[in-house]
């Protein structure tokens, strides 16, 4: 696996103490049904927060709230120190320049080639053509899909599409990555490849991230492994260690029922968590 150019200096890196994402008593509902209720959470700089929960518990909605794609009914959401609840869409577009998002099914533009999908944001920012080509190639090399430049998403497998989606999300070297079930619907081998890419982004670039998944295996792989740059492969943390920057949130029926470390999660006495993890 190749590596991406280091991100340029950003506000988040200048002030590491400032949390990247803060949810403060956030609630949202649709058509009379409460989807998220009184959610409070924090994503600190360099943290990887894994959001677990059964299907329909509001995980994807939470991710979309963090990116300003949805607005909460109550509570406040702060991203990079800016409150985004009532932020005009034009300003949100600028803020999203620092956020990369991988959607559940990839959400690639099916009328564009892989190259144009990955280059989309750069082309919108009027980046010079040579620079676009260089960065797209770099991003695709990161996900090991350089050979697919001129293919359309429909010509790729599910796993390849998800890898292209990751390349599209990291092409502008974001300070925050939001992964919405990046391994959903994939076979175990492909899932491991995707998780390895997430881990690489975490360990090599120290990008803060919020990852939604309902696959416990993927979540615990992230917590118990680290990316070895020398071997260019993920390896288990020695002596059964855990990644200190990776911790968990568990959603159930629109509420956060757990917020803490991997160790606390696996040793929790909560009946729901015990049943969920078993």
């Amino acid at each position: 696996m190749s590596t991406l150019t280091q991100p340029s200096s950003t506000a988040a890196q200048e002030d590491p103490a400032q949390p990247v994402v803060v949810f403060d008593h956030v609630s949202i509902g649709f058509e009379g049904k409460q989807v998220l209720e009184d959610i409070s959470l924090t994503v600190s700089t360099g943290d990887t927060r894994i959001l677990l929960g059964p299907a329909g518990s509001g995980k994807s909605v939470l991710l979309k709230l963090a990116n300003g794609l949805m607005r909460p009914d109550s509570g406040t959401i702060t991203v990079f120190g800016e409150e985004i609840n009532n932020m005009p869409e034009e300003e949100l577009f600028k803020l999203r320049g620092r956020i990369g998002m991988v959607f559940q099914e990839g959400a690639l533009f099916d009328s564009l080639t892989v190259r144009d999908n990955v280059a989309y944001r750069l082309m919108e920012q009027k980046v010079p053509e040579a620079e676009v080509t260089r960065r797209v190639t770099e991003a695709l090399r990161f996900v090991e899909l350089e050979q697919t430049l001129d293919k359309y998403p429909s010509q790729l497998s599910g796993g390849m599409r998800r890898r292209v989606a990751i390349a599209r999300a990291v092409v502008n070297r974001p300070d925050l990555l939001l992964y919405d079930s990046p391994t959903g619907g994939l076979d175990p081998i492909t899932s491991t490849t995707i998780i390895e890419l997430v881990m690489k982004q975490r360990d090599v670039y120290r990008t803060s991230s919020l990852l939604v998944t309902h696959r416990l295996q993927d979540a615990f792989t992230l917590a118990t492994h680290t990316f070895d740059r020398a071997q260019n492969h993920m390896v288990p943390i020695p002596d059964g260690g855990l990644d200190s920057k990776t911790n968990f949130l568990v959603l159930h029926d629109g509420h956060i029922v757990f917020d803490g470390s991997t160790h606390d999660l696996v040793h929790s006495d909560d009946p729901f968590l015990k049943e969920y993890l078993s």
């Binding site: 794609l69 956020i99 559940q104 099916d110 920012q125």
Partner: protein, 259 residues
């Protein structure tokens, strides 16, 4: 709780109208805001304009032809077949050209817009676009809106021309009328208000087709079934609106210009 129910029903009825007005207003307002997507405008103009040309030509020609057939048989009872061209020309330019062209384009493009944008909605491509810093209204809706308005204007002129030619073909080769008389009456009867009416309508109808198609597309929910529902609704609503607004414009023009 009857009052709550009435309030709820009223909100359900008014909310889509409000959302439609907001979408249409923002789509128009976007021409004054950067960035502009000229390349998308050209692509849409090609798809809507050039793509619709065959059906518009066929529809226009046969409509003009059947108009000549029907009016000639009726006029024959009064010995007035000489004004067949007049009837065909007035009917085509004031009514049938704009309305039939719009209905054809609505069937082809309002459905296309609703299904394309609807598919993008349900596969989260619209959300992805927003997440990548692009306003979907600027990128997707505004180019479609202006491309439809511009192209429908020219398609209607083509339809009017071809329809008049179709009427001439039937009058001369099937009914044995004099060609120069046909074209002379067809031309002489036209006045400025007739032309104005015939050219204002496609502008308004083009706006209806694109805004309704995009509105239903951008509000698609519920997977592939939702895409199908949006497509059907877009065609039905835009077609009904076209016919209704045609009546309103005609009444207004007659009120102002007396014809």
């Amino acid at each position: 709780m009857p009052i709550d129910t009435i309030e709820g029903v009223a909100k359900k009825l008014v909310l889509p109208v409000q959302n439609y007005a907001l979408l249409a207003g923002r789509a128009i307002g976007n021409i004054f805001q950067r960035p502009h997507y000229f390349a998308d405008l050209i692509v849409q103009a090609d798809s809507i304009g050039i793509g619709s040309l065959p059906i518009v030509i066929l529809t226009g020609f046969f409509t003009g032809g059947v108009l000549a057939l029907q009016s000639a048989s009726s006029l024959a009872q009064f010995g007035a077949t000489a004004i067949t061209g007049e009837l065909v020309s007035l009917s085509m330019i004031k009514e049938l050209g704009p309305v039939l062209t719009s209905l054809m384009v609505s069937g082809r493009n309002a459905s296309g817009m609703a299904s394309e944008l609807g598919s993008m909605m349900v596969t989260e491509q619209i959300d992805a676009m927003r997440a990548l810093g692009t306003d979907p209204l600027k990128k997707l809706v505004t180019p479609r809106l202006f491309a439809t308005v511009i192209m429908l204007f020219f398609l209607t002129i083509i339809s009017d021309t071809v329809g008049t030619m179709g009427g001439a073909f039937v009058s001369v080769f099937m009914l044995g009328q004099d060609g120069s008389q046909y074209f002379h009456t067809a031309y002489q009867v036209l006045r400025f208000p007739d032309i104005l009416q015939g050219l204002v309508k496609p502008v308004v109808f083009g706006f209806i087709i694109a805004s309704i198609g995009c509105f239903y597309g951008m509000n698609t929910r519920g997977g592939t079934q939702g895409v199908g529902r949006s497509t059907t609704q877009a065609v039905v609503v835009s077609s009904v609106l076209i016919i209704f607004v045609d009546f309103v414009i005609s009444r207004f023009m007659i009120g102002v210009f007396g014809r």
